[in-house]
């Protein structure tokens, strides 16, 4: 049969468009079906949402041609400062400090606001003749077959393709219809997210303070502005969320310290309950999952998007290699290559972030002493610190080509 496109992607967030661009760049025809209405361009103001992009993710965005449109709006992260702190006190003295110079040179990552990244991805998709973007529509049914998959859209249209990619988030309907079950649990924590204007410069330093009730990340945005991700127990978070802005800021100040000078809110405050959800399989007949649809993680260190883009890089490479080999790109053995390459890595990272969070979200004095000692040891052993940083930066030993900034 002749298909409408080679790949249908359900989900037009960030991973879906990035995958579409990578595939289209190699010559495949892609349909992206997004339940959201198209984003209003330019009009969108700052909404407080921003991503900490690992270098590998930045390289992928460069390889698919999106980076030039956002590079001027991205804040390089020159240092990451991780510290252990106790509520109401300043950070513990044995902090973990990463310097960009210890990697291969250049920043350790970038902060980029959602509104800039989303618009750049949408513009790049619109400029590609091989991508058909179908907004305000969702996939409501899918039927895998021996030669392809038939997809039914909410507007009644039907599409056929070799493979259907679920990039439709942690409540993925593509996964559910494919019979892929999920394992997950809540953390009993909620992330409070906001952006701050501050008087003194952040100097491109990202800080992660591990407080007894959850981590607090202070991430540098362009100018004298920072993004705050403050994780608290659900009960504390509910109280904090209900506070007036001035009272919230007063409490935040006690955790931040005063290195940024006077602070003020730069946008609305958001809160997100934290939970972990792992798909029990990343593939099913004619179906592959990427991003939160495969693994919704704790947003500690901003790894959610970075993990998703690693899925994108691996799936794009597997599908393009199969296409260049003349294989049926939706065949079970092709999709198994994606799952085999990706799944162990993503699950381990999700579970290790869970473990780090549990270790640090604890005020047991023995654990606390061990933490300080452990961080001090990592600090004094450069090879351990570089290994830790490489992992955090997503530069693992045998990366897919897109994460190395190479074309497929």
């Amino acid at each position: 049969m002749k298909h409408d496109s080679d790949v249908v992607i359900a989900g037009g967030g960030l991973n879906g468009p990035a995958l579409a661009l990578a595939l289209a760049g190699a010559g495949l025809r892609v349909s992206v079906v997004d339940a959201q209405a198209p984003r209003a361009r330019a009009a969108a103001g700052f909404d407080g949402r921003a991503y900490a992009l690992a270098i590998a993710s930045q390289r992928l965005l460069a390889a698919v041609g999106v980076w030039p449109a956002v590079s001027a709006k991205a804040q390089p992260i020159w240092h990451v400062h991780a510290a252990d702190g106790r509520a109401g006190e300043r950070s513990a003295p044995f902090g973990l400090r990463f310097d960009a110079a210890e990697l291969e040179g250049g920043p350790v990552g970038y902060m980029l606001e959602d509104r800039f990244l989303a618009v750049a991805l949408a513009d790049a998709m619109a400029a590609s003749a091989r991508i058909s973007f179908i907004p305000a529509t969702s996939v409501i049914a899918q039927e895998p077959g021996s030669a392809g998959v038939s997809v039914t859209l909410s507007d009644g249209r039907g599409l056929t393709a070799r493979v259907l990619v679920g990039a439709d988030g942690r409540r993925s309907e593509v996964a559910e219809r494919a019979g892929i079950r999920r394992t997950g649990w809540g953390y009993g924590q909620t992330a409070l997210v906001c952006a701050l204007d501050h008087e003194r410069p952040h100097n491109g330093v990202a800080q992660q303070v591990f407080l007894p009730t959850g981590p607090l990340a202070i991430l540098p945005l362009p100018g004298n502005r920072s993004s705050i991700v403050w994780s608290e127990t659900d009960a504390n978070a509910r109280t904090l969320a209900s506070l007036a802005d001035a009272d919230f800021l007063a409490l935040l100040r006690t955790r931040l310290g005063d290195h940024l000078g006077p602070i003020a809110l730069a946008g609305p405050r958001f809160s997100y309950p934290l939970n972990l959800t792992l798909a029990n399989a990343y593939v099913a007949p004619r179906v592959a999952l990427v991003g939160d649809a495969a693994h919704g993680v704790h947003p500690i260190a901003g790894q959610g998007l970075n993990l998703g883009l690693r899925d994108v890089a691996v799936l794009a490479e597997v599908l393009v290699e199969a296409a260049r080999r003349g294989e049926d790109i939706g065949a079970a053995d092709v999709l198994d290559r994606y799952q085999g390459w990706r799944r162990v890595d993503a699950t381990l990272l999700a579970l290790s972030m869970d473990a780090v969070n549990k270790l640090f979200s604890n005020d047991n004095p023995l654990l606390r002493a061990g933490r300080d000692l452990g961080l001090g040891l990592v600090q004094s052993a450069p090879f351990l610190r570089r290994a830790f940083m490489r992992q955090a930066a997503g530069l693992s030993a045998n990366p897919p080509r897109l994460l190395a900034g190479q074309q497929l």
Binding site: M1, K2, H3, A26, G27, L28, E143, G145, S146, A147, G148, V149, S150, T160, A323, R324, R325, G326, E327, D328, A331, A332, D333, D336
Partner: protein, 250 residues
């Protein structure tokens, strides 16, 4: 997805269901032909690399073999013919086993591929004056009665400058352990008796046969199975069991 109502010449409609079941069997990566599916990416990488090099084609293009006429001898269910057709080649798939042809046709049609499958032999095609840019002769030569005569026929089927890719099994104690004892008796990957070890051919013997057939051997590589990654890969040094060669008709 499929459209079995489409009539296929030379097939009794009552037989279609049976052929569909056989096609499903041929194309199930976990089924009876699992060893071929496992090996296929490695074989394809070699074949595609050699064709692209010989004809100066861009491997990053999705249809690099447009304009090339290719013969797949012993095509079976079409595991090589279909990828070659997707890459743009005009493919003739030949198999002496009559029941393979409708199976391969049915599958290609469901995939939207045009492939000229024929129940015939290399000798008959050569006698009819058919000529090709590429002849694939994969895991065939160890099954034929007279390898020299067969390779000479392959040479006749090539246009001047044409490329033959030929794979087979080496003959040594290791290949007996792997291909006969391992694959047929331990792993049960292949039915017992699939291969006759005495008919395996060493790389040097094959090069001599190819030269006598009037072709210039230009490359040979081993195909090695890694039981840890569970994958086949090409090796420049290890031709001890499975290996593949490329030769050109000057």
């Amino acid at each position: 997805m499929q459209n079995p109502a489409e009539p296929i010449s030379s097939i009794n409609p009552d037989e279609v269901a049976k052929f569909e079941a056989m096609a499903a069997e041929w194309w199930d990566p976990a089924g009876k032909f699992k060893p071929l599916h496992l090996m296929n990416p490695c074989r394809l990488d070699y074949i595609i690399g050699q064709i692209a090099a010989e004809y100066g084609r861009d491997r990053a293009s999705l249809r690099p073999f447009e304009g090339l006429r290719l013969l797949d001898i012993g095509c079976g269910g079409g595991l090589l013919s279909e990828p070659m057709a997707r890459l743009g080649a005009e493919v003739v798939g030949a198999d002496a086993a009559p029941r393979n042809i409708p199976v391969a046709r049915l599958h290609a049609e469901a995939q939207g591929l045009e492939i000229d499958y024929r129940n015939t032999t290399a000798e008959a095609l050569a006698a009819a004056g058919e000529r090709f840019d590429v002849v694939l002769n994969m895991e065939v030569v160890e099954h034929v009665a007279d390898p020299q005569a067969f390779l000479t026929t392959c040479q006749q089927l090539l246009k001047t400058g044409g490329l033959m890719v030929c794979s087979t099994l080496n003959r040594n104690p290791k290949s007996w352990m792997m291909a006969i004892f391992g694959a047929e008796r331990v792993m049960r990957w292949l039915p017992v008796g699939t291969h006759d070890w005495a008919k395996f051919i060493t790389p040097d013997e094959l090069y001599a046969l190819i030269r006598s057939a009037g072709l210039d051997p230009v490359d040979r590589k081993g195909m090695v199975f890694n039981p840890v990654s569970w994958r086949w890969s090409l090796s420049a040094r290890d031709l001890s069991v499975n290996y593949v060669t490329a030769s050109v008709k000057r």
